[in-house]
Amino acid sequence: MNQTAIKIENVSKEYRLGAIGGGTLKGDLQSFWAKIRHKEDPNSIIGDNTGLSKGDRFMALDGVSFEVKKGEALGIIGHNGAGKSTLLKLLCRVTAPSGGTISYDGRIASMLEVGTGFHPELTGRENVYMNGAILGMTKAEIDKKFDQIVEFAEMEKFIDTPVKRYSSGMYVKLAFSVAAHLDSEIMIMDEVLAVGDMAFQKKCLDRMRDAAQLEGRTVLYVSHNMNTIRQLCNRCIVLSKGKVIFDGNVEEAIEVYMGQGIETPSNVDLSSLKRTQATLAPGVKLTGINVLENDIWKIRVGEKLKFSIEVEATENLTNIGYRSRLTCVDGTSVSVLLAPNLFSCKAGDKLTIPLEADISQLVPGRYCLTPVLYGVNQYGGWQFYDHIEKAVTFEVETKPGFNENMEWEQRWWGSVKLPEIVDLRTLGEK
């Protein structure tokens, strides 16, 4: 099981910015003629003397190296333009790298796009053969798998209908099904699971997991959906600007990707942070939020969070409430911490209010707070005075003995550890 299935050594891919050549033979000849006479290139973009002039190179991938073991499910994440798709294209041999080598064993099934080569005029059956063959199956192999493919796609009824009559969901289901049944040693997927209904998405993920865990296939998966990455992958790399910036554990990778792998210092200045909420009422603003009794925003599991908020008022207001939404770093809601009718203020007041939130049931992990000031407006409706999306990230640190030293599977078990079940018999004995 410990064999290397894919080895990527110092791979780079360079694209030229702007148009490729002059776009026409004439343009290229002109440029060439100008060059040999040491004249200015007539096709260069006028006034473009900045670094990015024509002929400048863009490194979509820059010295990427990693290895993937057989049977591993590797997630690849990164922001748009980080080079994820380029990397997959190189692996699928759609285009060649500018430098470095990629070596692998076995066949690669690429699902950069589902339904490649599907022809609208042909029936589902014909397209299964067509698509299978494009992905590298022989006719005999498809014959053998045909029933499985159709059953997996739940398409028995429509298989002899031209695919142009299919709904987009049916189309994708059938296409995914073909790719999923390919007997390849390596499967490469680029966010293809973003389509199909929930039930089918789950089916696909399970299928992929089985492929990696039970059949020992190697899976490379690119997605912006952190939940599917969590469910499917056991290792993850983070790409940024064409470089691998992290390689390892999935949760850590997601944190690196979220850009929140750093500790938050105790005093957070909120006055300069951007407000994303469109309609904020004037009168009172948050200027700071500070954790108490600590240098950084970090508590141990089971502890309460002691912090203070700083507010600055410009109007006389009463009964202002504070609350902060508690989310995981990837945006999953956990709960909300409420402090209704917290304070009243006069214009010009600068208040610092110490608070304590009982979050002792939170499991270890990283969380975000979205602080909000709210109150009742003159019409009796609710209004926000201030709202700062994910202003603070804090960490709940594990401690020895937590959950009997069993690892808390946050993605399955959630972010809150409720009190343990009470055995009513032992309760009676007490």
Binding site: L25, V94, P97, S103, T116, K139, P162
Partner: protein, 288 residues
Amino acid sequence: MESSNKKFQTVIEPKNGWFDLHLKELLQYKDLILLFVKRNFVSMYKQTVLGPLWAIIQPLLTTVVFTLVFGNIAGLAADGVPSFIFYLSGTILWTYFNQCLTQTANTFVANRQTLGKVYFPRLVMPISTVMSNLISLVIQFTFMVIFLVYYVITDQSCHPNLYILMTPLIVLQLAILSLGCGVIISALTTKYRDLAMLVTFGTQLWMYASPIAYDMNSMAVFAPGGKYHTLFMINPITPIVNLFRYAYLGLGEMEWIFYGISWIITLVVLFIGIILFSKVEKTFMDTV
């Protein structure tokens, strides 16, 4: 840990060598070629009432026009054979060659959606194009034979002879020649589209440089002994068409030396095509 210099089955490197052709790989994908052939043919005539009959109608119309304009009005048809069958024989060969060439030249631009997402040997595309046109050719050929039989029975001086056994060779040569030319053009057009604009015009010129719309002997300069006879015969299409008409209609004399040269040119074109192609194959998706 295993040693780091383990041998992998597939190694992807930045550049192809000149002779890195992976022709063996094509064999693994023979099912795909056949499916593409089927797809091309089936999808061409889906939702048409006449279906594959269109394969006959198009060359038939061309033949009729040629017969009227070049045969009857200009008087450029061959003496001694009915001008209809004379033009039909030339037209179906030319149609096949022309279709293969223009479609092959266009394959990569037309299929960039598919080619940009998945790998298979790129030559699969042009090869399947050439093969799917073969189906139309067979239909047209059958059509021509029916006419031929009619002319032979009514004794209108058509003399098919044993050289018809060379038909497979004639078709093969046309296929190779069009594949070669098409692949050269497609290799060059991935970067410069200008050439693609010239293809339609170029093939038209080429047709008039070949004895399709007229008989070689009706043009004094091209006829044997004429000023440009050698130049005319160097055109690889000419001996092929001449051989075809010689075999089926018993028309003219064969100059085997030019037929040999035609084969040499054909193979050279194919060779250049494949080599040019293997150079651009790996990265053409970036520029197409």
